[in-house]
Amino acid sequence: MAEIHVMREELRPPVVPRRHLISITDLERRDIERLLGTARNFARSLEREVKKLPTLRGRTIINIFFESSTRTASSFELAGKRLSADVMTIRAVGSSVDKGESLKDTARTLAAYAPDVIVIRHPQIGAPQLVADATQAHIVNAGDGKHQHPTQALLDLYTMQEEFGRLEGLHVAIVGDILHSRVARSLVQALNIVGAHAIAIGPPALVPRGFDRLGCEVSHDIAAVAPADVVYVLRMQSERIAPGENFVPTLREYSARWGVTPERLNKRQKVMHPGPINRGVEIDARVADSSASLIETQVRSGLVVRMAVLYDLLTQGPVALTRTVDMNEVA
């Protein structure tokens, strides 16, 4: 009855220092490699008929989303459940937050349930840090404003590694609205950490000044996707052409100059997108539906990568890792 043993206090992994995943730069290369390895093990376990692992039984995970989200919220919830944790997902739109409760008070309220992990998405930069300071939980940033979305970057790396068998030296072109994209920021930093090559391509007003100093090339010409192994397309939002914004004149002009079409790709290139996609704006429907698209793979990767992140934060270390993902032991 190994399942029961896992619950017994002496068999629980030792208490580890409280760690968070707030920025992708919280990780070193070996951390990323360990996480991707763990994710691969989980992917194998999910091929089994019974997909649930007892690993985090008795642990409490609270997901709190202050912004709408389909794929991130659902994959975090399923990730926690696959690992047998008690998972509570709060959509903070319509909760007491709307009644003017401060984030700090919301965090303290949640802390009363003594969660092991709080996964937070918030429209404001710095929100995860504030929750980290106000609670005793491990914090996972599921997106804070335009700042960071580290689990997205990890699942993107995982997807690339599964596709190409390597990350080192891989060439990734990130196309679109870099300025407003937490995904772009986290991904460029993640690519740097693992030794891949990044180029940011977009309209001048949508590539932040100084972005080249983050360790990537910058171009405003869509033709610069040519040497890339992966063309990573970002969502282009209609807010960017609102009166007083004028980041680009119109979406039509954006599509004409920077839209990712079959004509602008070569046969060996793969296409990724963090979703949700705007067909016909930043990505041509023929590209989104082609075999070059890894968009659905990204969604699948999200589940195992988030399982790996939750697992890693609560256990840490290769010893615990071998013990818990050894299928014979947990069976």
């Binding site: 700090k104 930069i125 710095g126 929100a127 504030l130 335009k146 960071q148 100084g210």
Partner: protein, 440 residues
Amino acid sequence: MTLHAAAGKKDDLVIRGARVVDPREGIDGELDVVISNGVISALEPTGSGEATRRDVDASGLLLAPAFVDPHVHLRTPGREDEETIASGTAAAAAGGYCQILAMPNTDPVVDSAAVLGALIEYAEQEAVIPVGFMAAISKGLSGEELTEMGALADAGAAAFTDDGKPVVSAGLARRALQYATLTGKRIALHCEDPTLSHYGQMHEGVVSAELGLGPYPSVAESVEVGRDLALAAYESSPIHLMHLSARESVELLRKARLDGIEASAEVTPHHLCLTDEAVRSLDSNLKMNPPLRSEDDRKALIEALREGTISCVATDHAPHARQEKDVPFEAAPFGVIGLETAFAALYSELVEPGVIPLEILLERMSAGPARVFGLPVPKIAIGEPANIVLIDLAANWRVEESRFRSLSQNSWLLGVTLTGEVVMTLADGRVAHRSERVPA
């Protein structure tokens, strides 16, 4: 009368053995300073006078003209939970200040003689040190209609500003400068083109690119500095540029001054000590307007202060309630407090490392701003009112919330150990602050 404080008895005391430094009077030496009925009545070689019951032993301490802050937010009326005239002036006294000027962006705005008159009455009841009040340039700070600048000047306005907001319309800025030639009161400008700062949260640069915080470029300040200098030249009306942050602004100002334009400027301790790198911590006490800029900008500000292009240190003391700063960086209001830490921060960061001489810092914190706004210049000279600060330059102290006299604690220096502690402040002949080290 520009400055107002609660009435009270002037003090009599003898401060013995301090190193007395007054850069403008050319004094630097050990002297006993005799104060009779609030006026400096004698400067004597140390040890020459007989000990009296009103002696203060100041051996080993620095005695200098007390400080003048041309840019303070007192939050009265409207947000007395954040700061009052009483708490703000007490904080100023604890920081070594003998005179301060308060900004008009209160609720209601100081845009009528009635509001100004009420503030002056408050100050005459509760101000620990003399305080002056700037009035708004535009009604309600709306940037649309001029206030009754004549009536406000007659009622005692120290100067005019829409601080907190820029005067977006060049036409209105011009009208204010034209009118100011009648009142003789200076126009002080917060330079920001809102179409360029555009919801900006921090300096546009590598750090904003990395953090994703809304970028607020230097050029948002400097284009308006250029515009306002051109208007000042055209109208031959003096201007004061508030809280400069960017190299480009400093260079425009330097050139304008060489061209004979009467333009003064101020810089804050935080812009002199910090850069946008500090914002990586996402600490909301590092969020201010204008934002912390690059190391190159900081160097330009220090050089301008040293050479006198910028003649004033101003704290831009901006108290905010705890619950307003205890939120994610993006949701926090702009502004930090500074009255109680300004000297120590600048002494620790700039004087001790040898970046600027002590005498220059003392001058820019006292006579510099006093002269710009036509306030009494604090002097260590016989016959002058005692406006004196006594400082222990050897003392190290830790900035802690519990130490502040200010009602707000939103300091960028919390937890930091600084060198240089204000031990005693005399403002207009009265002891306004005395640390526990000086027995009453």
